[in-house]
């Protein structure tokens, strides 16, 4: 396994787009708490009144709320697409350069190839989870006024949910690449995918079968981290990671990997 990891490291080590996109994503991650704070400051400056409440006192960036608030942002497709593009271009390169073919001629087998790409996805997901975790932790430590250590790690399950979300999203990107092979088309489809689910949800709701929408891949994934903000106008929200969507996400990851290997084992390279 370490060998496969090293192999993919050799492939991307000198591939600039890989590093540029990853670093861009990192910047985005770090920028979220800063821009949120700037937004609150702006609200305050504009004199927005929350029934006499100071916007800076909304505990968006306070422990324990911060875990859910911020991971919610990070799982928006607009952020994830950066990592998705990294996965799509590195894998579709292998097809367009035909290097996957030469790799196999040289002594890899198709399962090794899939494993090496899944490992890369795993490493990307772990690294970005780490960045997210550190960003949340530091922001929380800076902004929480009355720091109670008990609260700090309360809600950290959202970090785990984020990790699963990223894995699902990137495996979906892998799946689309394997079936479409062209990077531009794949990136386009990956961007369109969430809106497509949105349309399906609208249709399902219209015909009163909206219970099935919870079983769509990205919808299930976003159910793991519910929109947290209504709680600040006193609505009930799911402030934990519910079990069923988590299981659905895991099931989709397994299904996608299965479909990837089905396709790669059958195709002539």
């Amino acid at each position: 396994m370490l060998k496969l990891l090293r192999l993919d490291y050799l492939k991307v080590k000198n591939y600039r787009p890989f590093w540029v996109l990853n670093i861009l994503y990192m910047f985005l991650v770090v920028s979220v708490p800063i821009s949120l704070l700037e937004f609150l400051k702006w609200l305050k400056m504009k004199g927005a009144e929350f029934e006499g409440f100071d916007p800076m006192k909304i505990p968006i960036l306070f422990f324990p709320d911060i875990w859910q608030n911020i991971t919610y942002f990070y799982t928006l497709p607009i952020f994830l697409i950066f990592l998705g593009i990294v996965v799509i271009i590195t894998i579709s390169n292998e097809f367009s350069y035909k290097t996957v073919r030469q790799n196999i001629i040289d002594g890899l087998d198709r399962t090794d190839f899939i494993k090496s790409k899944l490992l890369m996805i795993g490493v990307l997901a772990l690294a970005s989870t780490l960045v997210v975790f550190v960003t949340c932790l530091i922001s929380g430590l800076i902004y929480t006024p009355d720091l109670d250590m008990g609260d700090v790690f309360n809600g950290m399950e959202f970090i785990f949910a984020y990790f699963l979300y990223v894995i699902l999203y990137l495996v979906l990107a892998f799946l689309l690449t394997v079936y479409l092979r062209r990077s531009a088309l794949t990136i386009f489809l990956l961007m369109l995918y969430r809106p497509i689910e949105g349309v399906l949800i609208a249709i399902a709701t219209k015909y009163d079968v909206d219970f099935i929408t919870d079983y769509l891949p990205l919808q299930a994934a976003s159910r793991m981290i519910e929109v947290p903000f209504p709680r600040y106008w006193f609505q009930e929200i799911t402030d934990y990671v519910p079990l069923v969507p988590t299981l659905v996400v895991c099931a989709y990851i397994v299904l996608f990997v299965y479909l990837i290997s089905l396709r790669l084992k059958k195709s002539d390279l």
Binding site: I105, D106, G107
Partner: protein, 299 residues
């Protein structure tokens, strides 16, 4: 003699098209085995199957009398069609990837690059290379694992005459090291110059297989010219001929094995004909190849 590769009744179908049709062959160790055939005759498809990048429809193949797996491919140096490398990486970086795949703990990257004369360009990216350099890099990559078997698919494709000569020289050297080489080509000349054994493919079927020296030495053709007159009929009466053709300047007589120009000359003299020109040609592989293709059309 040990058999390096054995193919039994290999079949590959693309929908209704049969690319490889019931192909069986054996490659003995230490040979330079040529797979000859026109474009689209199934050479690359066959090589793709035995290297596991193309799925077969039917049949079996064995490397070193064993069922194929990836550990065997790690001991084979192979290039299919065009040289394939990561364009954004240098020669050294690309070969490191090959070494990583082939589990080579201490690959002699500089050594193989010197052998193919790419050492000076080793830190340049692959995409900046000329076609000849790319071809040479693939040979370097195939040599990297010091393989028992090398598979080369059209290794001189697109090269200038000097490049072709260099690559052929390289192949001969490698063969002298005792390695088995499987070489696919549509260039007969190439097969004749470097191979010891060969087979001919046409539309996925094997139509001939044998040793290169046998075909080059067996049948002879005799060019005959007379000062004047039509001797076509007289020549047709010669029992030692299998075929008589009219040429621009004279006649081409294909001899039966065992028969030679001496027999022909004697016969013509007996018929009262004296010739002005009598030349024995060894039939070239090219002629035989074209004949084989033509024969299989009639079959």
């Amino acid at each position: 003699m040990e058999t390096v590769l054995r193919i039994e009744h290999l079949v590959k179908k693309y929908g209704r098209i049969t690319a490889v049709n019931d192909l069986s062959l054996e490659v003995p160790a230490g040979t330079v085995f040529g797979i000859l055939g026109p474009n689209g005759s199934g050479k690359t498809t066959t090589l793709g199957i035995i290297l596991d990048v193309i799925n077969r429809t039917g049949g079996e193949y064995y490397w070193f009398e064993k069922k194929p797996d990836k550990s065997i491919r790690k001991r084979i140096g192979a290039i299919l069609e065009t040289p394939i490398f990561y364009p954004y990486l240098t020669a050294v970086q690309n070969l490191k990837i090959v070494a990583q795949i082939k589990d080579l703990p201490d690959p002699d990257i500089n050594g193989v690059l010197k052998k193919v004369e790419l050492y000076d360009r080793r830190h340049d990216r692959f995409k900046t290379y000329s076609l000849g350099m790319k071809q040479r890099l693939s040979i370097a990559s195939a040599l990297l694992c010091n393989p028992d078997v090398m598979i080369l698919d059209e290794p001189t494709n697109g090269l200038d005459p000097q490049g072709i000569a260099e690559i052929r020289e390289l192949i001969k050297q490698i063969a002298l090291d005792g390695k088995t080489i499987i070489l696919a080509s549509h260039l007969l000349d190439e097969v004749q110059k470097v191979c010891t054994d060969f087979c001919v493919l046409k539309q996925g079927s094997m139509i001939y297989s044998g040793k290169v020296e046998d075909v080059s030495s067996g049948v002879a053709m005799v060019e005959v010219r007379v000062p004047s007159g039509d001797i076509g009929e007289v020549l047709s009466g010669f029992e030692g001929a299998t075929k008589v053709e009219r040429d621009i300047h004279g006649y081409l007589v294909t001899m039966q094995p065992e028969k030679s120009a001496v027999d022909l000359n004697k016969y013509l003299f007996e018929q009262g004909i004296t010739v002005s020109h009598l030349l024995t040609q060894k039939k070239s592989l090219e002629k035989q190849f074209l004949e084989l293709l033509a024969e299989s059309d009639h079959a």
